[in-house]
């Protein structure tokens, strides 16, 4: 019987598998950022341990950085201290750091792929749960905690239990106007927030094959929202084309690299522990209505009525969510006004996302009641967008065009919701308070976010493009 992609990746990276203990996996790339690393570096210092492979370690400042113009210094003293700690730690341990203002700086899950540091067949970890993003390249990528960050810094390995495998197959092609974000919201809704727990999910099928790398990253990014540790997509020519000429790719060896990369797919006859099939032709533009990413509804739909839920626990959760979100059951989603629109985050801040949003933004102006921000995922994305004139489209339409970083995805920098504000956000988590204390977050795609900004309420692009 054949092997799944996950099994192949697992076997390739096995250092030792002592009987009765977790296996030790080798880590090919360790991405580091300011929030989950300071205590890990402290641990190294305390135990007088060096970083084993600085040449396999790459750091960037993203979670905390303000998105103001670079000429404005970091105002918040604790953020500043954390950014300085990253500077000092990288210098002391010999790690490459793309700090605020560096041309390669950006959200860790945006820069890894765009620099070509992320490659098929690798194991990639980062102290951030959305490390699953990199699985779009046929690499085993997952988030770790700070103790594990320290473990990888010290040993370049991680003790791991083998996960179960799940195949999520999207059959058929998505209808026009439906994109990667809609697909993944549908998947998370189907699996629930815990449905992927213990699994590594491989996404397959026509609707996945037809996606660009940007779209595939959006899908793998949100694997964690279904509880899965990692998401995977097998390598094909789309993957290989994307990697061509990336700064960290040795183009003199590209053909042999590509030949090797093509192996990182599941065998035809591979067996998965669990399989889910979703008919992609039935998908629509989706958004979340509640406080977890599985609480999903079509934008055409209405706020669900908890009294119709048969499961008492789900009903209680839904009631709590609606109270927090300040919503009435059965209100059409399209009638709900928003205060803030955020286009950004490692889910949707790549060039293709900005193009999709700009195509809508150029048809109108941001409603006067709305604050709309566009935060590119990286400096490179920002530069590319500016070369294409997207910044001007956004600015002319009344959007703010900002410097790269995580920004309002988690509100650690000054970009935050104020209590009670409602946002339409292209990020990945609608948890209570995620974007600012008492803020109310609805997750959706970049095109829908842009249409919503223009209308001042939830809207699909066709309402603006017509």
């Amino acid at each position: 019987m054949g092997k799944t992609l996950y099994e192949k990746l697992w076997e390739e990276h096995l250092v030792v598998a002592p009987v009765g203990e977790p296996a030790l996996l080798y880590i090919d790339l360790h991405l580091v950022h300011e929030v989950t690393s300071p205590q890990a570096f402290d641990g190294l210092r305390l135990n007088r341990r060096p970083v084993r492979r600085p040449d396999l370690t790459l750091a960037t400042a993203d979670h905390n950085v303000p998105t103001d113009p670079l000429s404005v210094p970091v105002a918040d003293p604790t953020s500043k201290r954390q950014l300085e700690a990253l500077d000092e730690n990288c210098r002391e341990f010999g790690i490459t750091l793309f700090a605020r203002g560096n041309e390669n700086q950006g959200i860790v899950h945006v820069i890894g792929p765009e620099l070509g540091a992320t490659q098929p067949g690798m194991t990639i970890v980062c102290g951030d749960s959305h490390t699953s993003t990199h699985g779009a390249f046929g690499s085993l990528a997952f988030g770790i905690g700070t103790s594990e960050v320290e473990h990888v810094l010290a040993t370049q390995t991680l003790p791991q239990q083998k996960a179960k495998t799940m195949a999520v197959t999207l059959t058929g092609a998505v209808p026009a106007g439906v994109g990667a974000k809609d697909i993944v919201l549908a998947i998370v809704q189907r699996l629930g927030t815990g449905g992927g727990a213990g699994y590594v999910i491989e996404y397959r099928g026509q609707a996945i094959s037809e996606l660009s790398m940007e779209g595939r990253m959006t899908i793998c990014n949100m694997s964690i929202e279904a509880g899965a540790r990692a998401g995977l997509i097998g390598v094909d020519e789309t993957t290989i084309d994307y990697l061509k000429n990336r700064p960290n790719i040795d183009m003199t060896k590209f053909d042999s690299l590509a030949t090797n990369w093509r192996n990182w797919v599941s065998d035809e006859d591979a067996h998965f522990d669990h399989e889910v099939v979703i008919d992609a032709t039935t998908l629509k533009p989706f958004m979340t209505w509640g406080t977890n990413p599985a609480q999903v509804v079509a934008i055409d739909g209405v706020v669900p009525d908890p009294s119709t839920f048969s499961d008492p626990e789900e009903r209680a959760t839904a009631e709590r969510s609606l109270t927090y979100m300040g919503l009435q059951a059965n209100t059409p989603m399209r009638e709900i006004p928003v205060d803030v629109v955020f286009i950004g985050s490692c889910t949707n801040s790549r060039i293709e996302d900005l193009r999709a949003a700009a195509a809508v933004a150029k048809r109108g102006r941001v409603a006067s009641s709305v604050r709309a921000l566009v935060v590119p995922g990286s400096h490179r994305v920002k530069t590319q967008a500016e070369a294409e004139g997207l910044d001007q489209i956004f600015i002319n339409a009344g959007f703010e065009w900002r410097e790269p970083g995580c920004s309002m995805c988690l509100g650690m920098n000054p970009d935050q919701l104020t209590p009670g504000q409602r946002s339409a956000s292209t990020s990945n988590r609608n948890f209570e308070g995620r974007q600012g204390r008492q803020g109310r977050t609805h997750l959706l795609s970049p095109a829908v976010a842009a249409a919503t900004a223009l209308k001042g309420r939830f809207a699909t692009p066709d309402e603006v493009l017509a």
Partner: protein
């Protein structure tokens, strides 16, 4: 890591499902570069509410949290574990946990106890009715025990996690004993070293 063989004290029921790590420790707390002091930020958005269960006088000093399903999902922030421990919790009981949270807990010596949803409900009922009743989470025998109520339930834990808790082992130290295997791996596999453009 400190060895833990049992956690004893009072328990408190948190009747909410899907308590993610953003709720356990909101992001405004993540800017600290230290490992201590996070207890103040534990559930900080909810603690402003005087009716929140941790604000009740009878639950002060609790050592065990009996939580709803899917506790600790979401972000990988280990700060969630530090906050729970800094506040004084030594064990968390729930019917299911986020994967990364469970992992992080085992590295810090926070005991993760998984019981069926029905048993978790029962225990929540007990501690709500008798907030002062002592509860024991015994890592050696792998049982949760409420002697006053004759309530004793076994739970599962993989042998390695159990051993690590009991011995207080440091994972890095354990792995470094495999140094020669790591070197051997590096000799026999292609390197993915970042190129000179990436290494400034």
């Amino acid at each position: 890591m400190k060895a833990v063989s049992r956690v004893t004290g009072t328990a408190v029921a948190l009747r909410r499902s899907d308590v993610d790590t953003d709720q356990i420790i909101p992001s405004e707390w993540l800017k600290r570069v230290e490992r201590t002091g996070f207890g103040q930020g534990l559930f900080s958005e909810w603690r402003d509410d005087p009716t929140f269960v941790l604000n009740q006088p009878e639950h002060q000093g609790a050592a065990i949290l009996v939580a709803g399903p899917r506790f600790g999902t979401g972000s990988s922030r280990e700060h969630a574990v530090w906050a729970l421990m800094d506040y004084g919790f030594g064990a968390i009981i729930s019917s299911s946990f986020g994967d990364i949270f469970r992992n992080n807990s085992s590295k810090q010596g926070l005991v993760i106890v998984q019981l069926s949803a029905q048993l978790v409900e029962e225990l929540q009922g007990i501690v709500e009715q008798s907030p002062h009743t002592p509860v024991i989470v015994d890592v050696e025998r792998l049982v949760v025990e409420v002697a006053d109520f004759d309530w004793i339930q076994p739970f599962a834990m993989d042998a390695i996690t159990q051993e690590r808790l009991l011995e207080g082992w440091d994972d890095i130290g354990l792995t470094l004993r495999q140094s020669s295997a790591i070197e051997q791996y590096e000799r026999t596999h292609a390197s993915h070293a970042l190129n000179s453009t990436m290494q400034e």
